[in-house]
Symmetry: C2
Subunit: 445 residues, 2 copies
């Protein structure tokens, strides 16, 4: 064998998760699972690799270009670039077994060969939930409630869910005879917060060639402001006479009424008539979610209602609504906000190996504590005490248990609390119950 | 757009996880995480894709052949085929940040282009834990304890961890002057349970050309039997005079002593001097784990001690010990043993939408119950009651809450317990506390 070492490195755009990042990442996933499950969403998983034919079916040119696609044997295969296309294929394929309505969540990695840049990776986790097979407004309301519960459970109170309805936009476009220019108009409208109404107006005039009066009708959307109820009221005039727009306004109103009754205020849920989210896919309610402390970070949880999830794979009409938590993006946001604790351990308690001949006693003590629900690490070697303490410190352990021949002889241990260096003597008797109780009290402080 | 439908299907060797399989699969992963964490193992993750150079470095010809490998831009890349090679690269790369000893777990998918066959998939989850940077026997003992805790936490009591030590084997080979034929001898020895000592003897004679007396020394291993302590005693004579063998025997003895002191008996831990597990990689303790009720299923959790994890990537000597739970294989075993409950829901309680105009009340009731820790699904539409009940039944809900105008007027709900069809009236007052309490009691029964 050659002695030439292979340089250990990762591919550009890919990364390792070290424990200090993977611990909060696992916690985020656990939190998402818990919230989704509390609403009866059920987990599924789909393959990383699918036939390119399946994955390319729905993608835009851009996603097609970004796909990791290759030949495997005789097959043209690709790695999934989102969790929505696999969901569509999945539901079309297993429709009868699943039964409708079907509420699923899916936490998994996706791959996109984008140009790597700060905070953008080629492999990242998404965390989707969808309710399929129903047009009921109850699911739109529930989607907003899930996002609210989710972001709160993760630990944020300062966030804003922005709500809109594509029917309002599409109806107003119809009213202004701009339906055929919807793509250009919505694209311009999306820029409203960035470039302001005058530049949006110019862009619309240029791309549509429509008369000023039509553009004015659309731009009245940018004048709308106030509380959610005030916005709904102001939308009244704008939507009047167009069935689609009125339906959209009514749906916005139902979502606001129901969520307000449950305590969601403008603090966390705000109608924003300018958001359009994708140009063809969504057909009703749309949502985006922003962290108040990182306004320019972009939406961390977005989604909306669609009329037809799986039309490429089945004739079955499958309406639904869902949203996707950008889990790794949220993790990056939390890192920017300094919300990631510097913990490198899953065990807050460490037992030092003070005396090698007492290994069985240390193992017994550790087993006792684990049985009582305390995660505990036994330092694997009987090295010098200061080295063992350094290890505990570095990893963020909170308590260290020390016992040598003298302690075992008198049936006690010393527990050192690392934050203040205090040391407490506790009895070993009765399956270490007293030590466990003491630790539990201190660790939950 | 063409009207031609794309047939929804998965690639050969790949599969979807429907909720009834994904729910227990998530539970298995949660259990593994919990057990690993209770010992202070910390989570990491590594990329799915790595440079082929990195992944091919250590693999055997067989794994190289099975690898999903392709060209991406200018890079020759591949999907990981196990979690050990990425760990080696990871530890070599982040050695200084991690600090030694380092105890990590890693739960993730791996990909192997094997010929698909019953129970063998091309994408499957592994669930590894390793202790790196120490030769201490405490880690060998801990590895056995973790496996024992893990298999028990998953729900099995009928299982056997088989323990051996490569030093014993290698030492006895040295003694018999068969060290240079170790690969052939160990390969033959691995067949002992299948083809019996006579055929193994013939194979060894043929492949090594060694004298009968040498082969006899090796085959004495197959005569060894009894309790763990009896086996260790019998190994005394066989190992005598060879330092390596005696060291191995001593280590076996230490593992047995320490685990026995913690209550592990022959029921679940048995020395098996015939297992060799891989021919070059392991250097000390080796373990395999079998389910008593599925003896022919193969090992569901295997591993061992190695002298040098990352020698391809670093000059640092990194000894360690670890094992891998074959999570998807275990799931398949549980399915064969009929241990997968037929539950398709994460919410044991469902609220029917009896009266559409009461949507806000249903939402409030659901929110109340969730706040008290009960997962609850609100049926999304106000369809016919029997359709809503069919949905609840089909998914495995246990309780259904029914309330219409009359109930809300008198401040009560009806709770139907699906197992026996009994119906109980409970008051809605005080944030639905009484309903929550009643449900909690019944659901934990």
């Amino acid at each position: 064998m050659s002695n030439q070492l292979i340089q250990p490195r990762t591919l550009s755009g890919f990364r390792d998760f070290l424990p200090e990042m993977m611990i909060p990442r696992e916690k985020l996933m656990e939190t998402a699972r818990k919230v989704y499950r509390s609403y009866g969403f059920v987990p599924i998983d789909t393959p990383t690799l699918e036939l390119s034919e399946i994955l390319c079916g729905k993608g835009s040119e851009e996603t097609d270009r970004q796909m990791y696609r290759f030949q495997h044997g005789k097959r043209d295969v690709a790695m999934r670039f989102d969790l929505t296309v696999p969901l569509a294929r999945f539901v079309a394929q297993h429709h009868n077994e699943l039964g409708m309505p079907f509420k699923r969540y899916h936490i998994g990695n996706v791959w996109r060969g984008e140009r790597p840049q700060a905070g953008r990776f080629r492999e990242f986790a998404q965390c989707d939930f969808d309710t399929i097979g129903t047009n009921s407004i109850a699911s739109d309301i529930e989607t907003v409630l899930v996002i609210n519960d989710l972001i709160r459970a993760i630990g944020f109170e300062q966030f804003k869910i922005r709500l809109n309805n594509r029917k309002v936009l599409n109806g107003i476009l119809e009213k202004a005879n701009l339906a055929e220019h919807s793509v250009a108009v919505l694209r311009a409208l999306d820029k409203l917060p960035k470039i302001g109404p005058e530049k949006v107006r110019l862009e619309m005039l240029e791309t549509t060639g429509a008369p000023d009066s039509s553009i004015d009708q659309i731009l009245m959307l940018s004048q709308i402001s106030g509380t959610n109820r005030e916005i709904i009221q102001q939308l009244g005039t704008l939507c009047e006479g167009n069935e689609l727009a009125e339906q959209g306004r009514e749906q916005l109103s139902e979502v606001i009424d129901a969520t307000q009754a449950l305590g969601l205020t403008e603090q966390n849920l705000e109608i924003d008539v300018s958001i359009a989210r994708g140009l063809d896919y969504y057909t009703g309610t749309i949502v985006e979610t922003f962290l108040t402390d990182l306004p320019s970070f972009g939406s961390i949880c977005s989604g909306g209602r669609y009329d037809s999830l799986a039309q490429l794979y089945t004739k079955q009409q499958l309406p639904g609504i869902g949203a996707s938590l950008g889990l790794d993006r949220l993790l990056a946001a939390m890192q920017q906000l300094d919300l990631i604790p510097n913990t490198k351990t899953t065990a807050e308690v460490m037992i030092v190996q003070f005396d090698k001949s007492k290994l069985s006693e240390y193992l017994k003590l550790a087993a006792d504590l684990r049985r009582q629900g305390i995660a505990v690490e036994l330092y694997p070697e009987s090295k010098k005490l200061n080295q063992q303490f350094k290890y505990a410190d570095r990893r963020g352990a909170r308590a260290v248990i020390i016992a040598g021949t003298d302690e075992f002889a008198s049936g006690v241990v010393q527990v050192k609390w690392l934050a203040d260096g205090t040391q407490t003597e506790l009895p070993l008797a009765e399956n270490s119950n007293e030590i466990a109780e003491w630790l539990k009290t201190r660790l939950t402080d």
